[in-house]
């Protein structure tokens, strides 16, 4: 039995005070994330361009596409780590990276800790809460108790309680991934940018974590942008998908975008979307990494 699926009560209890209540946020007309004709350029090469995307509070958006197409780059643009090469990008009503860091939960792609790193998972989660503050945490006081409760709550939420006290270097890849999801959640962010969070989780855990993120998104009004290489575990939680391709992109509901016609047009090569009996989508013929398309490398 997975601990995640069994804790809906904990989910609703997670944002009692600090964050603005979800209903008012859902009513705000202003989108949380907005891209208008955005393009990304890395090393002199344009990865994608003309991306239009609006994400409001409580919406769950997946970013899909083949390896190397620039999905992680899109997350970096939203974080403000990398400037957009063209177009307009707005995050939480401001420029990306402008003092919004504290309101964004970020999970980078595929991290693993050195096996010899002797720092507990709890401490790594805790860094997500107050790691940007100067000084050392005081070993006493009400603030410390409150911080510890927040950390314990985030750890419980992802069901990592059994191994959060172990040095994180000794945790398995999937265990580390859950602790890092807890780290992204611990500040009760308004936006979650998750880069392949289901990576290194087994199938039951993939659907459990997907359900957890879906619940946080829809119940607490958090805007979620999740990079994924397989849409199936998150398909029935999704509001929108963005499919990136070399040069272009399409955004829309999964039913609109993940079809043979749309993807064939996007990739300019025959792509077939099949639906299995149990409702899973299989995309056949999607191009692999852009490096297989020699013509575009002339520009590098």
């Amino acid at each position: 039995m997975n601990p995640i699926t069994g804790t809906p009560a904990a989910v609703t209890a997670t944002r009692p005070e600090t964050a603005p209540p979800a209903p008012t946020r859902a009513e705000t007309p202003q989108p949380v994330l907005e891209l208008r004709g955005a393009a990304a350029r890395v090393g002199g090469r344009t990865l994608w361009s003309g991306v239009d995307l609006t994400v409001r509070a409580g919406e769950f958006v997946a970013v899909l596409g083949p390896n190397g197409v620039g999905k992680s780059t899109m997350v970096k643009v939203l974080l403000g780590v990398l400037p957009a090469a063209a177009g307009e990008v707005r995050v939480l009503g401001g420029q990306p990276g402008q003092s919004a860091g504290a309101r964004i939960g970020y999970l980078p792609q595929r991290r693993s800790f050195d096996p010899s790193l002797r720092i507990r998972g709890l401490d790594v989660v805790r860094l997500g809460l107050d790691g940007d503050r100067w000084g050392v945490p005081l070993p006493f006081g009400a603030a410390r108790r409150r911080d510890r409760e927040r950390v314990a709550e985030a750890v419980d939420l992802v069901g990592a309680g059994a191994y959060a006290h172990r040095p994180i270097g000794q945790c398995s890849g999937g265990e580390q991934q859950r602790l890092l999801i807890a780290q992204a959640l611990v500040r009760r962010p308004e936006v979650l940018l998750l880069d392949e969070p289901l990576d290194s989780l087994d199938l039951p855990n993939q659907s459990a974590v997907a359900a957890l993120i879906g619940r946080i998104c829809h119940q607490q009004g958090v805007a979620v942008v999740m990079v994924a290489h397989d849409v199936n575990p998150i398909l029935h939680h999704l509001d929108r998908v963005v499919y990136l391709a070399e040069g272009g992109a399409v955004a829309g509901t999964p039913a609109e975008v993940i079809t043979s016609e749309t993807l064939t047009r996007l990739y300019r090569s025959p792509v077939e979307v099949l639906r299995t009996a149990d409702g899973r989508l299989v995309v056949v013929g999607q191009p692999e990494a852009p490096s297989t398309h020699g013509g575009h490398h002339a520009a590098v």
């Binding site: 974080l79 860091g101 970020y106 720092i119 507990r120 860094l127 050392v136 000794q170």
Partner: protein, 286 residues
């Protein structure tokens, strides 16, 4: 023999050594923890070469030895930070460069000893092995002030530096100035190397930076507890070394301090096995 030892306790040079040594060790322990955590011990080793050369260059040029120590170490720390981030010079390049710097140090030493009378001929040994029993009151005061400043800065940047060390990309996304911290920390390591050279000498400096921190990391897996423990162990080991060398005058203080540090580090292997068996979560939470 015992009379000598008893008299050492009351001597001003011993008081100066305890006072300066306490704060130097505290700074080395705190800086050392992050040095070990960031896997930059090699940098500490490189700085010990620079410490020697910088001091010798200052002496040969007629300046205060400590000026050369600090300028050399901080500059080398910043240089290494620059190399490490962008160019990623390989170990062979760094290794040969620093061997060459050490050779330069011996050149300055020869220059210095031949240009001056033999009165200060022991300067090379002083820098290599430290001269904690030879600190004047003025030198002690400077050493204490610098060490207190280093410790204060380490404590100030401890949490963001830990974040940047453990989880660089998330820290950067959260607005932690990861690069500036990396540079600042190596400058701090340079200053600390200059300090610690006065206590234990450039040859043994690495021990004071690495051994207490290594022991602390083995003893606890809570970062801030380990930081405090590293500083505390360094101070305790320095006291033990000074006491031992006061009681047994044939023991040089640098050797006694390093012996204490090594003994404590070795003892941690007895206290706790290398790898805690999986599944033994410590019962004390949070």
């Amino acid at each position: 023999m015992t009379e000598l030892a008893v008299s050492a306790w009351g001597q001003p040079f011993f008081h100066n050594a305890v006072l300066a040594g306490t704060f130097i060790a505290l700074a080395a322990g705190l800086v050392g923890y992050f040095l070990v955590l960031r896997a930059q011990i090699f940098t500490g080793d490189a700085l010990s070469h620079v410490a020697f050369t910088g001091a010798m260059a200052a002496l040969a040029g007629g300046y205060d030895l400590r000026l050369g120590l600090f300028v050399g170490c901080v500059a080398a720390g910043l240089l290494l930070a620059g190399i490490g981030r962008s160019g990623r010079a390989d170990d062979v390049v760094i290794g040969s460069a620093f061997a060459w710097i050490l050779g330069l140090g011996s050149f300055f030493l020869t220059l210095y000893t031949t240009s001056r009378s033999g009165a200060m001929g022991g300067a090379g040994t002083t820098v290599l092995f430290g001269s904690i029993f030879g600190l004047s009151t003025g030198q002690t005061l400077v050493a204490v002030l610098v060490a207190v400043a280093i410790s204060a800065v380490v404590l100030l940047i401890a949490r963001p530096l830990l974040f940047a060390t453990v989880d660089e990309s998330v820290a950067a996304a959260r607005g932690v100035p990861v690069r500036v911290l990396g540079f600042g920390f190596l400058a701090l390591v340079g200053a600390c190397a200059g300090e610690a050279t006065q206590a234990v000498g450039s040859l043994l400096l690495l021990g004071l930076l690495a051994a207490p921190a290594g022991a602390a990391i083995r003893l606890t897996d809570r970062p801030f507890r380990a930081l405090a423990l590293s500083g505390g162990l360094a101070v305790a080991e320095l006291w033990a070394g000074l006491a031992a060398s006061a009681l047994i005058p044939s023991l040089p203080p640098s050797f006694a301090i390093m012996a204490a540090a090594t003994a404590v580090y070795g003892a941690t292997f007895l206290i706790r096995p290398q790898r805690a068996p999986l599944g033994t979560a410590s019962p004390a939470a949070g």
